[in-house]
């Protein structure tokens, strides 16, 4: 299977199963349609399309050599691997819901103002430490363990964050585990002390900032309804500088109210940020700010525009990283990782303030997905297996989708929320994912020139 597309003025073909990417001229690109999909070239098809002459013969030969070298029209070998694979999955990452409470009232919050359809609650150090013990026990021979401090707003409970971090470091030393910490914050409570602690201990920090002031302030409001942009932006700029513009993300959300989100990315660049992520809102279509199918053409055009802006910036010698266009064509993750997905429910779990376990942060508060507690030290096997056994080949839509090794089957929570089944990916999210993969590949090709 191949996927061909035009972007950034280039003709690109992705050979899905091998992962090879080629940039073609117009003639070779047109000739791709003359293959029968099984690696057999059909000259009569070319003649029918009017693709004849010496130039076409030459292009034909070049394409044929790619086929011979197994770089084009290769066969998918992974479905069999997925079937045979005796996956020994262990828990290696936790999302700790340090605070089910927030000092902002962002209108699009999937966590329902931090409360996750429950009550306002802070995690105790005791629960956090139990979670650390739990993940050490569950992680088997895995050395690297990730702890993400999430909320609500984790800075509302920062003393506990510190206590858990120190405990994990100590236990890691004793039991041969390498902990990596990350934290997400809206910045309201960020100060010098917290910044210093974060810089010393956290391998990544995610700073919530949507872009232009009017965009940010229309949504990310304080309890009294006023915007938070002025309060958090300077602190984020300082933090980003203090980390040498590395190992952090400013992370914005776009909704149908700012489909010109490339302007927000530009604004973040103007503020000096070099690690940027701006992503579509996750919301049911009943919300007026949610992304609908009819918004897709505008979103695609905006992604194209953004890819062009970022390519120009990079070509001018300035580095800006946009999370969703970042792609590593040479040393990306292995096929096993790509076919198995995000790991929710078996490798990655969320822990609520009271110690309940869920498949991931987006399942928190859905009683049918509660998998146990950190105190019991065991997991609901039915739920665990359900998630573990899900992969791109158990999802009908994915098994034939060209994008399957780039999104690894999409977000299980999205699929469940929108289609009632973790194996039925949410189509609108898929369309945007596919567009982003195209942009990312096209940028990589354009920058390799």
């Amino acid at each position: 299977m191949i996927h061909k597309f035009k972007n950034l003025g280039q003709y690109i073909v992705l050979d899905v199963a091998s992962g090879a990417v080629h940039s073609l001229d117009e003639k070779a690109y047109a000739l791709l349609d003359c293959y029968d999909g099984n690696g057999v070239f059909l000259p009569e098809n070319a003649a029918e399309l009017g693709l004849v002459g010496a130039e076409y013969d030459e292009a034909k030969e070049e394409l044929q050599s790619l086929i011979d070298e197994k770089l084009l029209f290769t066969k998918d070998i992974y479905a069999e691997i997925a079937k045979r694979w005796d996956k020994q999955s262990v828990v290696k990452a936790l999302c700790l819901h340090i605070a089910h409470d927030c000092n902002l009232r962002c209108k699009y919050c999937f966590a329902d103002g931090g409360e996750y359809m429950g009550k306002r609650e802070l995690m105790s150090a005791e629960v956090g430490k139990k979670a650390i013990d739990f993940v050490i026990e569950q992680s088997g021979n895995r050395k690297n363990i990730e702890i993400d401090y999430f909320g609500g707003e984790p800075l509302m409970n920062f003393d506990v964050v510190k206590e858990i971090t120190e405990y994990a470091k100590e236990q890691g030393r004793l039991r041969g585990k390498n902990f990596r910490f990350t934290i997400t914050t809206n910045g309201v409570l960020l100060d010098e002390d917290k910044q210093a602690y974060i810089n010393e201990n956290m391998s990544n920090v995610v700073l919530s900032l949507d872009g232009r002031k009017e965009v940010h302030d229309a949504v990310r409001v304080r309890v009294d309804g006023s915007g938070s942009y002025d309060r958090v932006t300077p602190k984020f700029q300082k933090l980003a500088e203090s980390r040498n513009q590395n190992n952090y993300y400013v992370r914005g959300t776009f909704t149908r109210d700012n489909l010109d989100f490339a302007e927000d990315v530009k604004h973040l660049m103007e503020l000096g940020f070099e690690q940027i992520s701006v992503e579509p809102v996750v919301a049911p279509e009943t919300e007026d700010y949610s992304i609908r199918r009819e918004d897709l053409p505008a979103i695609f055009a905006e992604y194209d525009r953004l890819a062009q802006i970022l390519t120009n910036t990079r070509k001018s010698g300035k580095f800006v990283n946009f999370f969703h266009f970042m792609i590593d064509l040479e040393q990306g993750p292995c096929a096993y990782k790509r076919l198995s997905g995000c790991g929710s429910g078996h490798e990655y779990l969320a822990v609520t303030p009271s110690g309940d376990l869920y498949p991931c942060h987006q399942f928190v508060g859905k009683p049918e997905f509660k998998m146990g507690t950190v105190f019991e030290g065991k997991l609901d096997e039915n739920i665990r297996k359900r998630f573990m056994n899900s992969n791109i080949y158990t999802k009908e839509a994915c098994s034939t989708c060209w994008n399957r090794f780039y999104c690894s089957g999409g977000c299980a929570a999205n699929a469940f929320n929108m289609n009632g089944d973790i194996d039925k990916p949410y189509e609108i999210a898929c369309e945007m994912q596919k567009k982003r993969t195209e942009c990312a590949i096209a940028m990589a090709a354009a920058l390799s020139e």
Partner: protein
Amino acid sequence: MKHVKTISGANLAKSVNKGGCGECQTSCQSACKTSCTVANQKCEQKKD
């Protein structure tokens, strides 16, 4: 080649041979928390 420029080779197919150690970062921990993008992640094994 005149009509084709290969940007990257069969890296996915090659990864089958040495992959699967599971030491890499969990996708959702990096920035996003709302979608599964794996292609931008790093492999923990140093390939050479």
